[in-house]
């Protein structure tokens, strides 16, 4: 495998942008990444594009072909990926594999999405054989309700309190104040978080990710290209993706075998463990961790799963 470097990154801020198309959001992110990398659009050899669901003109996701057309129809290949909340990571991993495997030297990874308000609709079909349809029609468990069940179990097992959960939100919002790409650039007090409406008890409105529009892009390249552009490339130590294992509980449906051992979030845990192995590092070697928290619960659970604390 070849070494892979990140040459440039760019973002469109998170928020609600009713007047903009998803392609416009992506253009802002891609142009910023190109500028950061000192690259021209024509130099990009392939695109790995991501949204939670592929739009194809039918949904609210992204069709990466539109980004290429918008930036300039160079005819390069586009790999469109949809992987729910993991879509951005999935697209990065595919771009990484294409460069590491020697297929392309310069790949654009781009994610973008405009999302409807409220609970995310996870099944859009009237199809009784679709596991997600069955889950929603027969029971009615939007994402936050499922996270809330995991959170409630944690509260039962470890004594996690509502105050512990609220502190995570207070901390995260504090970090947002000086981040120009954050949706809410203001601090929230414990009282504000704890007085926000219960969405799925025990999870409250200010403890769940807001449904936002936004886009992000990264230009990744081979070592040869990187060294010509910069004396200090940012190397990708590893990039891994995983799915839920057989013993991981309920893969997408309404039932699963009761696990014989504690296996919460086996997909994320496997991806992280594999990434540590591939990079040859251990949790203690890390200086900074950025993790996706759909809700405050995950920011408590993930670091423990991964051996960070």
């Amino acid at each position: 495998m070849r070494e892979v470097a990140v040459l440039g990154v760019g973002m469109h801020p998170f928020g609600k942008f009713e007047e903009k198309s998803v392609t416009e959001l992506c253009r802002t992110a891609v142009e910023a990444a190109l500028q950061d990398a000192g690259m021209q659009w024509r130099e990009v050899q392939a695109v790995s594009a991501a949204s939670s669901r592929f739009s194809g003109g039918k949904g609210w996701g992204l069709n990466g072909n539109d980004v290429v057309e918008d930036m300039g129809s160079t005819g390069i290949p586009v790999y469109n990926l949809s992987a729910g909340c993991a879509a951005g990571g999935n697209a990065f991993n595919v771009g990484y594999a294409l460069v590491a495997g020697g297929i392309y030297d310069v790949v654009l990874v781009v994610g973008g999405e405009k999302m409807p308000k409220g609970f995310i609709q996870t099944s859009g079909v009237e199809e009784e054989t679709d596991p997600e349809f069955r889950r929603q029609r027969c029971v009615g468990v939007p994402g936050p309700a499922f996270w809330a069940m995991q959170c409630r179990r944690r509260m039962h097992d470890y004594g996690t309190t509502e105050e512990h959960l609220a502190k995570i939100s207070v901390k995260a919002h504090k970090n947002s104040v000086h981040n120009p790409n954050a949706r809410f650039r203001k601090e929230f007090s414990m009282e504000e978080v704890l007085n926000s409406p219960l969405v799925c008890d025990p999870l409250r409105l200010y403890e769940i990710c807001p449904v936002s529009d936004g886009a992000a892009a990264a230009l990744i390249c081979s070592a040869d290209v990187a060294r010509k552009r910069t004396s200090n490339p940012v190397w990708v130590a590893s990039s891994c993706v995983a799915t839920v294992g057989f013993e991981g509980g309920m893969p997408g449906g309404v039932a699963g075998m009761i696990p014989q051992r504690k296996v919460q979030h086996s997909d994320a845990a496997a991806a992280v463990a594999n990434a540590f192995d591939a990079a040859g590092v251990a949790p203690g070697d890390l200086d900074l961790v950025e993790l996706q928290d759909n809700t405050v619960y995950y920011e408590l659970a993930f670091p423990e799963d991964w051996g960070l604390c």
Partner: protein
């Protein structure tokens, strides 16, 4: 609990038997893995020979965890207007399956993890033509 005007939310997932309500799934005769609903193939990667046979589950279990859906869920979930918050839970059945289901209770905030639960077949909602849509739920004993 169900009337002649009752329609299962999806056909073939559950049945009222002489011994009470049961969920209809299957079991792999080779490795013992249980499935609800029925699976087309054994999903255990260590199982060398998928041999699925019908099996039914319930009614006894314990509440593994629960939550309250405080706001109306998006389609294709169904509920009667005006919306009333409902409880959902994960119930560990005696047979070894962990099942997702609504909790049948008037006290959505009073549920206790570890409580004994029983499977019930109850209305999910009422359609415009007056028919009742029936689904599986769990009720604290």
């Amino acid at each position: 609990m169900t009337t002649s005007n009752s329609i299962p939310v999806i056909k073939g997932l559950f049945a009222e038997t002489s011994e009470g309500p049961r969920l209809l799934g299957c079991r792999c005769a080779t490795c013992g893995t249980l499935y609800f609903p029925k699976a087309a193939n054994c999903q255990n990667p260590d199982c060398g020979d998928s041999k699925l046979e019908d099996a039914s589950f319930g009614p006894h279990g314990k509440l593994y965890s629960c939550a309250v859906q405080n706001f109306p869920p998006p389609p294709p979930a169904k509920y009667d207007e005006p919306f009333a918050p409902y409880a959902v839970g994960l119930v560990d059945l005696a047979e070894g399956l962990r099942i997702l289901g609504r909790i049948s209770t008037d006290d959505v905030n009073g549920l206790k993890i570890g409580s004994e639960m029983e499977l019930v077949l109850e209305p999910l909602c009422r359609e415009d033509d007056g028919s009742e849509i029936i689904t599986w739920k769990f009720r604290p004993i």
